[in-house]
Subunit: 341 residues, 4 copies
Amino acid sequence: MLTFESDYVEGAHPKILEELVETNMVQVSGYGSDPFTESAKKKIIQACGRENAQVYLMAGGTQTNALIIDTMLEPYEGVVTAETGHIAVHEAGAVEFTGHKVLTIPHHNGKMDPAELRAYLETFWKDGNHEHMVFPGMVYITHPTEFGTLYTRNELQQIGDICKEYEIPLFLDGARLGYGLMSNDTDVDLPFIAQTVDVFYIGGTKIGALIGEAVVFTHSNMPKHFITRVKQHGAMLAKGRLIGIQFDALFTDDLYFKISRHAIEMAEILKQTLKDKGYTFFMDSPTNQQFIVLENSQMEELKKHVGFSFWETVDEDHTAVRFATSWATTEENLRKLAELL
Amino acid sequence: MLTFESDYVEGAHPKILEELVETNMVQVSGYGSDPFTESAKKKIIQACGRENAQVYLMAGGTQTNALIIDTMLEPYEGVVTAETGHIAVHEAGAVEFTGHKVLTIPHHNGKMDPAELRAYLETFWKDGNHEHMVFPGMVYITHPTEFGTLYTRNELQQIGDICKEYEIPLFLDGARLGYGLMSNDTDVDLPFIAQTVDVFYIGGTKIGALIGEAVVFTHSNMPKHFITRVKQHGAMLAKGRLIGIQFDALFTDDLYFKISRHAIEMAEILKQTLKDKGYTFFMDSPTNQQFIVLENSQMEELKKHVGFSFWETVDEDHTAVRFATSWATTEENLRKLAELL
Amino acid sequence: MLTFESDYVEGAHPKILEELVETNMVQVSGYGSDPFTESAKKKIIQACGRENAQVYLMAGGTQTNALIIDTMLEPYEGVVTAETGHIAVHEAGAVEFTGHKVLTIPHHNGKMDPAELRAYLETFWKDGNHEHMVFPGMVYITHPTEFGTLYTRNELQQIGDICKEYEIPLFLDGARLGYGLMSNDTDVDLPFIAQTVDVFYIGGTKIGALIGEAVVFTHSNMPKHFITRVKQHGAMLAKGRLIGIQFDALFTDDLYFKISRHAIEMAEILKQTLKDKGYTFFMDSPTNQQFIVLENSQMEELKKHVGFSFWETVDEDHTAVRFATSWATTEENLRKLAELL
Amino acid sequence: MLTFESDYVEGAHPKILEELVETNMVQVSGYGSDPFTESAKKKIIQACGRENAQVYLMAGGTQTNALIIDTMLEPYEGVVTAETGHIAVHEAGAVEFTGHKVLTIPHHNGKMDPAELRAYLETFWKDGNHEHMVFPGMVYITHPTEFGTLYTRNELQQIGDICKEYEIPLFLDGARLGYGLMSNDTDVDLPFIAQTVDVFYIGGTKIGALIGEAVVFTHSNMPKHFITRVKQHGAMLAKGRLIGIQFDALFTDDLYFKISRHAIEMAEILKQTLKDKGYTFFMDSPTNQQFIVLENSQMEELKKHVGFSFWETVDEDHTAVRFATSWATTEENLRKLAELL
């Protein structure tokens, strides 16, 4: 059955599989000390335009979030996020599992407001009892957000400046980063992110890889004995090559950007189709995830013919649902969908 | 350069890659709810001969150990292991990171002695102050052990009986299980393990897979809301298919057992070669890891021509080193090694 | 200098000191296994009117909250509280330190709304992705709340009923319980609490003791091996007698209730004085904490003559402050305060 | 019944109770910011002869151990102790509960051997795989040990030097410190300890206080935002005065040393009595705890007349037991005991 359920319903981009097959019998050392990983790291650093950046390849998003947050916070600190942040809602308390509180501020279509962030930090430090409270020790943002929305260059700069002023790191969760960078509606590029945030990751799992997120510490700020912390979190792969080879392929000849761009083009077609058919958008998303509101019986009917995701209950009779495109979406499938809508 | 450094220096068995390529564009749901994972689970359950077993596919060994131990212990309990157990030494404190103590008893070539285990448990329960102590809540064994040694059927039975008597689960870490099952010197098979222990895993990473360990709960004893705990540990993969497809291939036409057997055959040749050349064995191993003692200057010389692993310092002038065969080892490479030794 | 800064500025009620002195040389066993603790437990159980209740004496509030929550939750569960709950704001992340998330819903003068609680639980269980989220595993309320407000009998009953329906325990933090029970504006008594909630504690530290909170598990529901968990949390006192003797004194001849009532009477005088003097109340509190809004320069002036607590910034020019009475407040000091206001 | 079960069977030294009664109605701020605590800290710093020492008053031993270890270790580090160390055996895993491993080396009558400590650290750093292991980040010793034994000045100096060489802090658990300092068989005094270790505590609970351990950071090395960590551990008392007043009394006119000395004198009488009566000593202890081996039926008989502690099973027919003297032991009771033995 046709599905637009998510951007991880297929395996890997063919170029990645090709590389896996080709390198398969090359004997290399384990735990990420192989030449494929080395090559991938160099290419990523180059794409970021930051010579003193450090890269570490991880397996999945929740794991990466918990590890980055736990290793970059002091034990008396928590992480500030918009209340809709993935870490606050959909990671089963993985951050709290490491002993840290997730501190929330309001969201605006998935984004935090720089002024509200500043106010939060100011209030904390002015509070005479703040030593009895969890210190805000890091700011976490998602880009694209959980709603597919994007920060502007100006907003990122403001949030980055606030973090510098309060001397806390800014962490950008880029599980779908490529789709954000290739959006028609963005003035943000990879080097800008690399110079504005302290740590971020380039999502692979949702953009063509079988598995893998590339963490970038932007200014030689990888936590001390990071490898031991990775191991302690159970996040180290014996065959580090598996992720190294994939990111090496993704960052060769701009593959990562090209396939992200493809997903955006497919999303634009999907968006236009939904508009033409008169659907109500739950919100306006400039990336590969599109959200519409369906009347419940209509939703049940549609479900029989095409896959999509439940997003949230709007009211007793209506539900918001998500359709996602990806590097693998074809125009043909979009045409089939148009016929069903 | 020729290397026998470990059993994870190559990628995946070709049959696995083939399956990954073939299924690549099939659209499936995420998080392990795909049909490949379903099929793999069924085949594993069948191979175990336990209808009410439950299987869960994980990415790596340390992650699996920490997750199983954390989810099967009560918060006031720790896990009992031989002092050489992987969890006690080489997992960077991943178990303690989850809040549980690793309780150690002596080892005998990597194995625990059933009588010493019983004595440990007896002493704990007889101690009038035991409520101020960590309760032994699980027994952890590795098979093959870190030294490549194997428990006999009788020993496993004894340990299993003790655990039943004390009403605590027995957990077998089978990161290299196939190599143990296919050894010339074992009377233990997979169904026997499945009926004797409460939980174990079938290692994939070191036996032909790119990644993956198949956890088997042998009697419908998967912890409650296990999926949420997996997520909380950062151990859930969005593309669960990656592991599902691999184990499906490994458990089709006995591939797992055949390639394990191959490694054993290669190890027997290696062992004979080492014997013939007059090397001193650090200990006698019936599986794919062989340990010898080298004079340090000899070790430095050999290192220039072939890869192997440092094991431990024997004395000022001698070092124990490890050579490992795997599913990928060729007779040709063993011949080349023989020439170098 | 005169102070109304808090309800813990003096030592202990004289009757308690007397008992400590009198029993001082009696030799007893440690860790709470002494006859004083035994006697205190019996008296508390009797006052609660619940034969199958179990009592455990702890040292302080944050410690008690973290322990109760950690021991009564499953590892995949968090605790639901009004956003102003002490555990959510002023305990330095002690709950998250144990690995559990604090889940917040809106507050209304410090109280949660039963309907909003129900809606929260309903939404969680209806969410198709709830296995990726933290399960609401307990409800935490404070009575009196951080704002000195009180739940009505009806509200407590509703919250209790919702918890029963969802099969999660209801935990009432009674750090200032006596002041709530003796308020003029309450229809709640101790037996009602004991029959409505699953676990609660009777605060001693803020009501006449040097130290101590008496936890009541209302229906033989003390977590398994609770003593070991107490020790593991570092919360066990070698000289358990210290708290036992105090609670024994507090629950002899209704001392706890009498001194709580005294604080309420003093608070009523304070409230009337503040009203007469034309002060603006930040909110209406029926217990021993009274909150007023001061113009900042007025606050600075007053600070020179009398102690009170900063509560929160109201706007650029105004601050909310707290005055607290206690078992130790005298009418004479209230008269002195009246002269200063 | 006569008891020598432990050194915490009575309440507090009368001088302490006197001070508690006298200061009872003085109004002071909470959380350790009171003048009594201030005064106690100054007196302790003076007794230590270290101007830049910092003191923090805690409630109990396990709590103090877990807090010091957790706050002074990096997350990838564990604490090295003799295998009989209190933290390794009798604290219900309180250290592991904070996520850190307890690393053990052999004991010799409760003490670690400096040479064995050095060998342990050397082996770790030489191990090529040490990044997969828990880093030894602190050394923990007890003085007196769990067996009542004492380190010599020379041994402490050696251990201190090793720690300096490896740049890890040395932590001395002095739950019974006074009894060690006042032993007939020691060349160690308080200033020597304060200049040799990085952090230690002066036990109050077992030496005359109702509750309380005074932690000394010997060179301005209190961890950052320590108060917040104390709160996070649930270890902060609202009425900090309770411990401040007690240590102020203990460090006025050498009370702490005088009452410790009394216990030693009583222990010497006890020891002589046991010798005269022909008892077999389990080991030779120079402090207030004396250990003898009893034939089991003899033990059961004696138990009917006098209290003592089970120590450990020696063999099927014999048990080691402990008799403890304290600040409160009287010569009269020792005479009574002599008659029973």
